[in-house]
């Protein structure tokens, strides 16, 4: 008996050790694979913005007479940036973008929070169907929608006006934001509204005092989404705006810095980078909320 019980651990141990070793090896391979693919992805993703940055720092002369590799700046200059910032028209694009985006974000959030609250919490005839319908509208691409929308916006006399854009951008933002918010609201336990109901809250108080504060991460995520979409929208302004003083940044940069076949590459790149800056800043500060908001609903808790 004694010898058997003494022998068995030593007989088992090598097997255990082998298993631990293979586990560690597996983990190392997983790490290596992860790093390699991440590095490749980072290079692919970051190469264009990096090239934009390089180009934006070059003089026109250096851009038109490339010597050696184009990935290096020989005489770095900020003149492209200064040219844009000191140009009142470019500043106008910037303010238009800000105005449009602010208005769109406000409109979107009011509509989608109210819609999501009623779809998630008030059971009424057709609420389930409506929730699906809201999501389906998100699947219709803007490249298809802009033709009928042109008729509508034109009929309203809002062509060549940023308010025409404020009217149509929510068709891109509201469905998705509503969907995010439905998911978030659905993850709030039912007892919380019942407690509020018994405590004396009406629907509106329940929304403003309980749901909105509790769902704040979801609301921030939806806000970021609405902000990004309306800041980066391209198809609608291209179709609806032809007057430079009503243009947002996205098409302003392109339409004003490409004259016929002359590309002001340096300023174009500087303009694109400046245009991309606000979303980068917003994401950098609110990334955690964004992820938390998108994954709410997906797993309970």
């Amino acid at each position: 008996m004694m010898s058997a019980s003494a022998a068995s651990p030593s007989a088992v141990l090598p097997g255990v050790a082998r298993k631990v070793g293979s586990l560690r090896k597996e983990r190392r391979w997983a790490l290596i694979t992860a790093y390699v693919s991440l590095v490749v992805a980072a290079i692919v993703m970051l190469a264009p913005p990096f090239y934009m940055l390089i180009t934006s720092l070059k003089t026109s002369a250096e851009i038109s007479n490339p010597v050696g590799t184009p990935w290096i700046v020989r005489n770095p200059t900020l003149e492209n940036y200064w040219a844009l910032i000191s140009d009142p028209m470019f500043r106008g694009f910037f303010f238009n973008s800000i105005k449009i985006t602010a208005a769109v974000v406000c409109v979107t959030m009011v509509i989608s929070v109210l819609a999501a609250f009623s779809l998630a919490r008030m059971k009424f005839f057709g609420s389930g169907l409506l929730a699906t319908g809201v999501f389906l509208t998100y699947l219709v691409p803007d490249t298809l929608l802009f033709i009928p929308l042109y008729q509508i916006v034109g009929g309203l006399g809002l062509l060549n006006s940023i308010w025409g854009l404020v009217l149509v951008y929510p068709t891109l933002t509201v469905p998705f934001c509503t969907w995010i918010m439905i998911g978030y609201f659905a993850s709030i336990p039912k007892e919380l509204d019942e407690a509020a109901l018994i405590d004396g809250a009406n629907w509106m108080q329940m929304l403003t005092k309980i749901f909105i504060p509790v769902a704040l991460p979801g609301i921030i995520a939806a806000t970021i989404f609405a902000f990004t979409v309306s800041w980066a929208a391209f198809v609608y302004p291209t179709a609806f705006i032809t007057r430079p003083d009503e243009m947002p940044l996205t098409i302003g940069v392109v339409s004003q810095l490409i004259r016929g076949d002359t590309f002001a590459w340096g300023q174009l790149m500087a303009g694109a980078l400046l245009a991309a800056l606000p979303p980068v800043i917003v994401y950098a500060f609110l990334m955690d909320y964004y992820i938390a908001g998108l994954t709410a609903g997906a797993t309970k808790g």
């Binding site: 007892e191 019942e194 407690a195 109901l197 018994i198 405590d199 004396g200 108080q205």
Partner: protein
Amino acid sequence: MAQVSIRKVVKEYEGGVQAVKGINLEIDDHEFVVLVGPSGCGKSTTLRMIAGLEEISGGEIAIGGGVVNDIPPRDRDIAMVFQNYALYPHMSVYDNMAFGLMLRKFPKEEIRRRVENAAQILDIKVLLDRKPKALSGGQRQRVAMGRAIVRDPKVFLFDEPLSNLDAKLRVQMRTEIKKVHQTVKTTTVYVTHDQVEAMTLADRVVVMNHGVIEQVGPPQELYHHPQTKFVAGFIGSPAMNFIPTRLVETSGALNLELSSDIVLPIPEDRIGRYKAHAGRELLFGIRPEHMTEVRPNDHRPGLASFHATPEVVEPMGAETLLHFWKDGHEICAKFDPGVAVEPGVRTPMAIDMNRMHLIDPKTDRVL
């Protein structure tokens, strides 16, 4: 403070499923009533209908004399404690308790006074600035109770408030709830599936099963005088034994024939009650605690004895449980821990026939 009247109340869901099938119940002012039953018996639905969280399909519910069928929850003057506490996660403990009063536009001073008073009763004064996230389960449950107390409502409703707590804390909070009720004396309706909770807390226990009330009564009455087989089996732990038997009349005396070798005499004072059923196949109900070891010099009238072979012996500390099988029926007996019992050894047992019940298997009613 108020009484609650439930009259012929029905809850029917879409598709015709009836969760509550026309129940009647009068709850007195200051009374602590516990609705108990297995899951799906309609006890929670009943509570939620009193709260106004479920619509009433038929009948009426009155709180403090006024029918509340069409009154929204916020105007029923009730407070509810939920199983998962349902605290507002973004508010401090103070704000959680003050929320209902703020919505009702109470003056700030009054709110402060009430919250501090409730915090005093529940011993959570030091927690007032914390968020629910930073509290333990027991503390959260206290806050949920505090939220109910500050409102000073007509009725407290508890929906399985202790089910999320661990066993030790549950016993502690049970005492706490009883203490709070003795302090504030608000009419209370309490739902649980745990019969021990029901027995210890209630002034009156309401046993529900399949959407109907099986029996209403003080805990001791339910224990000693169950009216149906369900109540007899539900109240008490371990559960009552049910053994098929035949009631036989022999020369004026009644006997229970459990099998050819076990015949138990019916106590004389019960003969009149059971006489009409002589010759029938019935169910013999006896609680484990009334099936004990044979004590020397114990000559109480109505004590019968027989032998059985326990297959499983469970020493619980304060008592020892013996399990044996008879014709496929598991039977449990409760012995004094001082008596040595071996599984597989034929053991003499005493049955206190004064505590027996006879059940009509056709109606499931206790005779």
